[in-house]
Subunit: 204 residues, 4 copies
Amino acid sequence: MSTRRLEAFADGVFAIAATLLILNVDAQVGEGSGAIGHRLLAIWPSYIAYAVSFVTIGIIWSNHHTVMGQLGRVNRVFLLQNVFLLMCVAFLPFPTRLVAEHLRDRHDLQPAALAYGATMTVMAVCYIALWIYAAGGRRLLREDSDPRTVSGITRSYLPGAPLYLTATLVALASPLASVALYGAIALFYVIESSIFGGATTESP
Amino acid sequence: MSTRRLEAFADGVFAIAATLLILNVDAQVGEGSGAIGHRLLAIWPSYIAYAVSFVTIGIIWSNHHTVMGQLGRVNRVFLLQNVFLLMCVAFLPFPTRLVAEHLRDRHDLQPAALAYGATMTVMAVCYIALWIYAAGGRRLLREDSDPRTVSGITRSYLPGAPLYLTATLVALASPLASVALYGAIALFYVIESSIFGGATTESP
Amino acid sequence: MSTRRLEAFADGVFAIAATLLILNVDAQVGEGSGAIGHRLLAIWPSYIAYAVSFVTIGIIWSNHHTVMGQLGRVNRVFLLQNVFLLMCVAFLPFPTRLVAEHLRDRHDLQPAALAYGATMTVMAVCYIALWIYAAGGRRLLREDSDPRTVSGITRSYLPGAPLYLTATLVALASPLASVALYGAIALFYVIESSIFGGATTESP
Amino acid sequence: MSTRRLEAFADGVFAIAATLLILNVDAQVGEGSGAIGHRLLAIWPSYIAYAVSFVTIGIIWSNHHTVMGQLGRVNRVFLLQNVFLLMCVAFLPFPTRLVAEHLRDRHDLQPAALAYGATMTVMAVCYIALWIYAAGGRRLLREDSDPRTVSGITRSYLPGAPLYLTATLVALASPLASVALYGAIALFYVIESSIFGGATTESP
């Protein structure tokens, strides 16, 4: 099975999940009352939630690309692992809306923050699982993939799950701190990419 | 007509239908009242329905890929058969929502279970129909396609329609058993793929 | 500019517009009251409208593929013409919903039938306009495109606009007859493709 | 990293954002009361807003293609810049709906016009930023890209941000004039493309 169609399906889910996030903003402004100018300002958490989740999906998409670039073949187990990863990606608009909705009034933020963190933690677990499956014993790697690149990917993906699990557990003590952490993790990747992401790669 | 654009259109419909499933979960939590934490737990059937339908679409997509990999050409009849298959795929979020909605209160589950099963049965019929059309007399097969692979695909796709028809008819006696069967079929494919899906295929 | 990205954008719009049609069915069943089994049967026009519009989009997509297969290059005028065509395609779910909604109670069907027909007529005009632009003086055709294939495409696309315009005008006298005509046109293409669409084309 | 998957992700977001615009029209007609024929005429601003935003997204997509055609490679910074651009593209259906909703009754149009203009201004800034990054010092350009084409792109993209900023500021004095300007800018690109866009480019 070619990697091309897996990429097409994955790119579709990434693009749709990211674009559907705007429906949450739409729903938020529709629920309010009063002048539209006031409502547009009152739903500020929706804009931040939109940006954080969009960038997060963008980063996962970019990482997915990095992984696929190392692979020379795929099999049905790997396809299935991708379906589970994409199931988490497509799920993300749901907890994003919950957080945006409850960040506004600080009321009942805890369940929303736990739902968002749980989704991100499961997604990070799926991610590292499929990479370890593909790279373990060089099972699906390209003949000419560089061992240093491969171990570099492993090193940079391993912290994801514990990081998001920690942020999720923080929600038990302080939901607001937990939500700030989710934003900080996305911001960290943006800054890190801006500083270290200038190395160019040839297009095929 | 190239197979490439058929794949692009199909991958688009598969990806969108799968991603739209989250709107069902969204709608379910929006309808409840009470604390959000409680509502998030109360809609547990929506999560299971989301996962079962997402995995089901993922498996159909993966099978679609297997079929297309055997084809060397397509014609307008085959394109039309694909349009009918994709019409069923895009329809799936609708009965999925019905089942999730009525699984919660066990009330009126029968019509929902029948709608879900009917959709899956028609989809399985479309699937085997397009495969038989493509493979019959090797009409659309690649020159170098392996007869053993071809008959293997036929053998593994034939049980789909009777299996789903049976599960649909079970809903007449026990809707709950029928819904459990739909989940079990998806779970079977996941486990089967995990055990036997490790054979690798070269990417093109 | 390559034809590849135009195809990717077009395939995306075709796939999304077709898949969004299910939201209309969803909205219809949500509005009713009473037992779900009864509501599922009462919204039968939604299923027919879903199928007719899905097949219609599938046929337009398949024709778009036929056109693109004859082209060797594109320019900005042609891209813009495609944007206008896709604007009609993406618009189709809206009048589809109107027809389905008002077919149920036969009340106020005329405006819905006119809106559906107007959309299809404008789409057919956009279609023939972009084909005439591309094929006129062989402006964008491939070097090796067959003149007989080209004039065959012209012959088969020319009747579309007057056909849909006629069906639209019929709505002024009988909205129901007009809606039946829209269904009949889609059915005609399905039957025509089933009988004459068996000629195979090599994949690239 | 190849340019191909960036294009696939971008084309997906462009196609979905454009296709989701129809949901705004749908929501508008659903809110009204009275005969459907009357409501279909009353929501005329929704049709104009749909067309303007669809064409605008189509033009941005076409420009994105022009930019990608000049690039020989991408890096993580460029990917991130694209994620920010696409975040604006996916945001556009939201202010489009606000403008359409408030254009009808002229009430409270100012915040909607400001939101639309701000989105377009930020999008234009993202656009010129990613082009300057890619073309500056020929960082990501193809070896054989023509310096005249490159400086031509720079010249034609630079006015976008100040143009949209001006139209946004006009909303402070006259929201209606501002909205007319947004439409005029889209119309200008359509007419300009129709007149000067006839130069053909080879497909790859």
